[in-house]
Every structure is written in C-alpha cells, then in structure tokens.
C-alpha cells in the first residue's frame, strides 16, 4: 500500500508540478492540485504505464483524489 502511494505521489508531483505535502489522501486533482480535465487524462495514463494495468474510462472518472487513485490501483494489482 505505502509503496503504491509513494509511486502515485511521485507521478502526481511530477505531472502537476505541486509540492509533495499537498498530495494528501483527500486532495482532489482538479480542486486542490490545479489539474484540468486534460491533466487528469494524462495522470491516468501515467498510472497505467507505471503499474502495468488498464484503467477503463468509466473507472477513470471515479478517480478524483489521490486517495481514490491509490485505492483503485492497489485493488487492480
């Protein structure tokens, strides 16, 4: 779990150019971390690449926060 969280956090920091402390469990990519809808598409692609999983579009729409992403990826693995 913590390994997944670290790797997800690294991707979010890299792609959105935000400080690591801001990437908290409940941080929303769009509302709190400055992402727009294209950024979130790219984030999901980066998660797929990093973890070797496929995230269908309807599932991707439910991933709104850092916590959502970590939970989804942990379960998908």
């Amino acid at each position: 779990m913590s390994d997944v969280a670290d790797r997800v956090r690294k991707i979010v920091v890299e792609h959105l150019g935000v400080e690591e402390e801001k990437v908290t469990e409940s941080a929303s990519f769009i509302d709190d971390l400055g992402a727009d809808s294209l950024d979130t598409v790219e984030l999901v692609m980066a998660f797929e690449e990093e973890f070797g999983i496929e995230i269908p579009d309807d599932a991707a729409e439910t991933i709104q926060t850092f916590g959502d992403a970590v939970k989804f990826i942990s379960e998908a693995q």
């Binding site: 792609h15 959105l16 150019g17 294209l38 598409v41 790219e42 692609m45 797929e48 690449e49």
Partner: protein
Amino acid sequence: MSRVVVTGLGLVTPLADGVEETWRRLLAGRSGAGTIRQFDASHLATDYACEVKRGDGSDGTFDADRYMEPKEQRKVDDFILFGVAAAQQAIEDSGWVPQTEEDRHRTGVLIGSGIGGLKSIQDTTILMKEKGPRRVSPFFIPGALINLISGQVSIRYGFKGPNHAVVTACSTGAHALGDAARLIKYGNADVMVAGGAEAAICEIGIAGFNACKALSTKRKDDPTKASRPYDADRDGFVMGEGAGMVVLEEYEHARARGAKIYAEVLGYGLSGDAYHITAPNEDGDGAERAMRMALSDAGIAAADIDYINAHGTSTMADVIELAAVERLMGNAASRVTMSSTKSMTGHLLGAAGAIESIFAMLAIRDQVCPPTINLDTPAVETPVDLAPNAARSRDVRIAVNNSFGFGGTNASLVLGAVA
C-alpha cells in the same frame, strides 16, 4: 487609414536568445550552424543545422525555464515554446499592459509557423505504433497545432482581440506581420502581437527536406560554411529554428502612451507564382510583383529602398530573387544594399520572415546592414551590394523584407524610420 508602428521585439535564434545579443552576433558575422545535437543525425544526408543553444541563459543560451514552467514545457512542442518565449520578450519590450477590458478586446495575436509540431507528430506516431493508441497524450494535439502559439499567448496575457494564425511555409513570418498590420489599419485592433516560430530540426524534418533536395549536404566537415547565399559553391539551405515576434501598434495609440517606436510598417505585398510546389518560377515574376505591390501600398518608389533583407536561402533560387530586385530597382540597383542573414541564422522556415523583418528594423535603428557571410565567389555579377562578409554602415531609412515559400507564395514588407 491609420498608421502601424512596431513597439516591441522578441527573438529566439540559433545565434542567441534575445534581440540585442542576436543582433550583435549577426553584425559580427557569426554563424549559428553546427552538427545536430538534439538527436543522432549521423545516418542522414545532412547532419548539421542551426540549432537554438540550450543552457542556463548565460552567454546567449536559451533557458526555457525563464519563459515556461517545466511542467508546461512537457505539454508543448518546441515551436510553441520558442514562440511563447519570443512573444514574452516582445510584449515586455513594448511595455504594453492592457488595463481595461476594452484594452484587452483591442489587443490581438497573429502568430504562425510553417510546419508546426513536426517533432511531436514524429515522436507520438512512434509511441502509438510501439505502445498503442491509449498512450497518446491528451496534450499531443494542442501541443502541435500551429495556432496554439496565438492561443497560448492570448491566454497568458488576457489578449481578447483577433486571434489568428498564418501557415504559408517559408513566407509565414512576413505574412503574419503584414496581415496583423492590416487588422490594425482596418480598425479591428489597436495592438497585435505578430510573428512566426519553427522547430522542425528532427529526423523526419531533415529527411523530408533532404528528399526535396533542398538542404545543403556537402559541408559535414565545416557546417559554418554551409549557408552561403549568392556564392557559386552553395548547395542548399541549412535548417534553422527559433522564433521572431513583434508588437505592432496603431501609431496614435503608441504615441499616447509614450511607447518607444522601432519602425513603421509602410507597405505589404503578396503574390502567387502559380508554377510549382517547391521551386520558384525562374522568371522571378512572383517575387517582383510582391515587392511592387508592397511599394505601391507604401506609396514610395523603388529607388527609395536602402536595404533589402533577402529571402536568399543558399539555393539555386537566390539569383532569381536577385534578378527580380535588379529589374525592380533599375538604375538605382547600385545604391541598394541587400543581404541574406540566413548565411548566419540558417533558414528558420515559418519564423524566417519575422526574424528577418526584425533585422531590417534594427538596420533602420542602427544605420547598419548585417552581412552575407560565406560569400567568397559570387555566382553572378550584380550592381547590387550584397554586403559580402562584413556589415555595411550606411543610411537606412527604408528597408524591405522578402519571404517566399513552397507552393509559390510570396510576401514583401516595406518598413520605414519614424521621424
């Protein structure tokens, strides 16, 4: 009809980042050419070009972080990065900061590119073939579209006036300046950011122009000698990259705010060859008509021209343009100075007309014409002074920029000193 003047300049060139350092090196006759560094080009017929030198900003190097956050740089092709950087310079130089919503509505952007995000298209195609379509970034299309420099600049500065882009191959930059000036003359805007940007030095770009037999291939040992307009030993152009941007402004608007004025856009001419997809017509008629239209628009005689910044790409076409200038000038041919700064910057394609118009404006400002370097053995005899290998100090009140592109598209701008 209102008058249009130039109140801000911006340059990112293979010689340097910034207007003054580029101009200093240009007058000193420096070449921006070298072996290609951004990818391994050793297997191509041409392995040299005039690249923008990346660095920390010292010694004229281009530090992208000064213009765009690293996370934003990832989302755009280099032609957009160069374009936004040169636009930032020009806007800051002009000192124009719209204060009201009306000001913002009266400020527009018209920036073009010859090819756009070619490198992004190349790289994304390879990625898609290797990893599938789901790996194509959502930023691929908005990072490669030609009009996205205009889009980025308008978003960044809140300019809500006309938002447009030009695509006319190697005459893009000149057309952008001319069209933007017309929008001001027509009353659609008071201020326009205009220019061109290009970043096509990538494997498919070099291979494509090599296939057209357009690029120099013989100077792998000394790329700085490869771009040699009007010289008998020229063998094609050397590709360049970068951007040139100006702030154009309605004359009274500029005066009212006490803006520094570089030059006036006096005339603009356009024509088509209706001849061949890549070669100009050997009679040079299209080039001559573009220049005549620009002079007529300016209301001045050919004999009044002091300096011509030529299209002069270091190809067979150089002497076609030269012959057209000789016909245009008639008996006054011996009093004009005409140089090709592509001998130093290489050919910046869609940015060429913009950077070279800026050089013409600086020639007016400083009363000096940049040289044509590597002009050792002239291909033809001419009464026109080609400023071989050394800058020429002289009176420059009227200057012309010529730009011609694939498809047989021609543009000429007449620029003048503002008393």
